[in-house]
């Protein structure tokens, strides 16, 4: 099925929610200081987008259009609360690190954006895949940013030291700026730059 492939692969590249649609930047800054919370955040957002897309798509014929935003919010909020409760019960340390950002998944523009733009007008299987694809696209950027921030900011990956101690003895120092939020923005900016340079068709023509 070419359709499946398109729905999953496209959001990783040409319609990436972070680098092309520039949605979900706030949480991208907050949880990417280390790789582990970034992975968990990516997984949580993917689960929420996929299932909220699925549920809204199943309900789409019965949702009165006047209260559709409220219905969407209720569904998303419920899923987020469930994830928060599960994390608190089974992954306490991670839930402490993510703290308020789990609650902020509700306001992640990617989710509402996909519900409005896709799930309300497409079948349930397609919507599920679209949510999965967009969640993965978001996770991909999160993981790339977190990889560089943790490697250069703390010299570790997933908490394990990567940069050998002989480097530190020779005078190497971790870059403290990498830990701070502005660096996430800069890394995202660099990713967008690389992506646009490699895909000239994405560039707006400002000459006209």
């Amino acid at each position: 099925m070419p359709n499946v492939k398109k729905l999953i692969i496209e959001p990783l590249r040409k319609t990436n929610p972070v680098t092309v649609l520039v949605l979900g930047i706030c949480s991208c800054l907050a949880v990417t200081a280390q790789l582990k919370p970034a992975l968990v955040m990516g997984a949580s957002v993917t689960v929420v987008t996929a299932f909220s897309n699925l549920i809204i798509s199943l309900l789409r014929k019965g949702i009165p259009s006047r209260i559709r935003i409220i219905v969407q919010l209720v569904v998303v909020a419920t899923l987020v609360i469930l994830i928060d409760q599960f994390l608190k019960a089974f992954a306490y340390n991670v839930s402490k690190q993510l703290s308020v950002y789990v609650g902020l998944i509700i306001t992640n523009c990617i989710i509402m954006g996909r519900l409005e733009a896709f799930a309300l007008s497409h079948g349930s299987w397609e919507s599920f895949l679209d949510g999965l694809g967009n969640g993965l696209g978001y996770s991909l950027i999160l993981v790339i940013v977190a990889f560089f921030r943790e490697l250069f900011g703390s010299g570790t990956l997933l908490g394990y030291p990567i940069i050998p101690s002989s480097f530190y003895e020779a005078g190497y120092q971790n870059n403290g700026l990498m830990i701070l939020p502005p660096m996430a923005l800069i890394v995202v900016g660099i990713i967008i730059w690389i992506q646009r340079t490699r895909n000239p068709e994405m560039q707006e023509n400002n000459q006209k």
Binding site: P64, L82, Q85, K88, Y92
Partner: protein
């Protein structure tokens, strides 16, 4: 009869049914997961107490066992520093000598809390742990790092039988959180000064 999905009647019915389903779902999950969450919180507390008292390599798995082994007494104090039955100030005694005292205060965005461990002489800090709910990661959030907490060990808190204000290196860019930490420690020690005086006399 054709169903009109934009009639007021349908909208009210739809909203009501949706809310009831969601409410039931959330209640069931919350009740089911409550014991797991409580256990995690309890472990977290034990880990922080043991870490403040300088016990190494505590994790969620061995916390309950280590706490059982090291915590030799746990009691409440009245205003004069004597053990009491009812409401009072809690103290945890680790290995018969270190007193670990819980602290509560305010950071910039929300509550901060922690534990301070005092040696048997009643005036030397063995160690501290801090935690926070919503301080900014990288700034106020740094109070949870070992780098920040490490500087407290060995500091003196008593001079001539009364508590003295604590002094430490604040975090650059997190003045309010650092002030909150100072206030929290000073207030807590003042409340416990009667008890600290007592153990100091006993220690000498």
């Amino acid at each position: 009869m054709k169903k009109d999905i934009n009639s007021n009647r349908y909208i009210f019915l739809y909203a009501t049914v949706l809310i009831v389903i969601v409410a039931v779902l959330l209640t069931v999950t919350a009740l089911w997961l409550q014991p797991f969450q409580d256990r995690n919180q309890k472990n977290e507390k034990r880990i922080n107490i043991l870490k403040a008292a300088g016990i190494q390599d505590v994790n969620a798995k061995n916390a309950a066992w280590l706490f059982e082994k090291h915590c030799t007494a746990e009691f409440l104090l009245d205003e004069n520093g004597n053990p009491t039955e009812d409401d009072g100030l809690p103290v945890f005694v680790i290995d018969r000598q270190t007193s670990v005292i819980p602290m509560q205060g305010n950071g910039l965005w929300g509550p901060i809390w922690g534990y301070i461990a005092i040696a048997a002489d009643g005036k030397t800090i063995v160690g501290v742990t801090f935690d926070h709910k919503s301080e900014t990661p990288g700034l106020g959030g740094e109070i949870t790092t070992e780098k920040f907490q490490g500087q407290f060990a060995g500091k003196q808190i008593m001079d001539n039988g009364s508590t003295i204000p604590i002094e430490f290196d604040a975090i650059t860019g997190a003045t309010k959180t650092s002030n909150g930490v100072k206030e929290m420690i000073d207030n807590t020690l003042e409340k416990y000064s009667a008890y600290l005086k007592k153990i100091a006399e006993k220690g000498e």
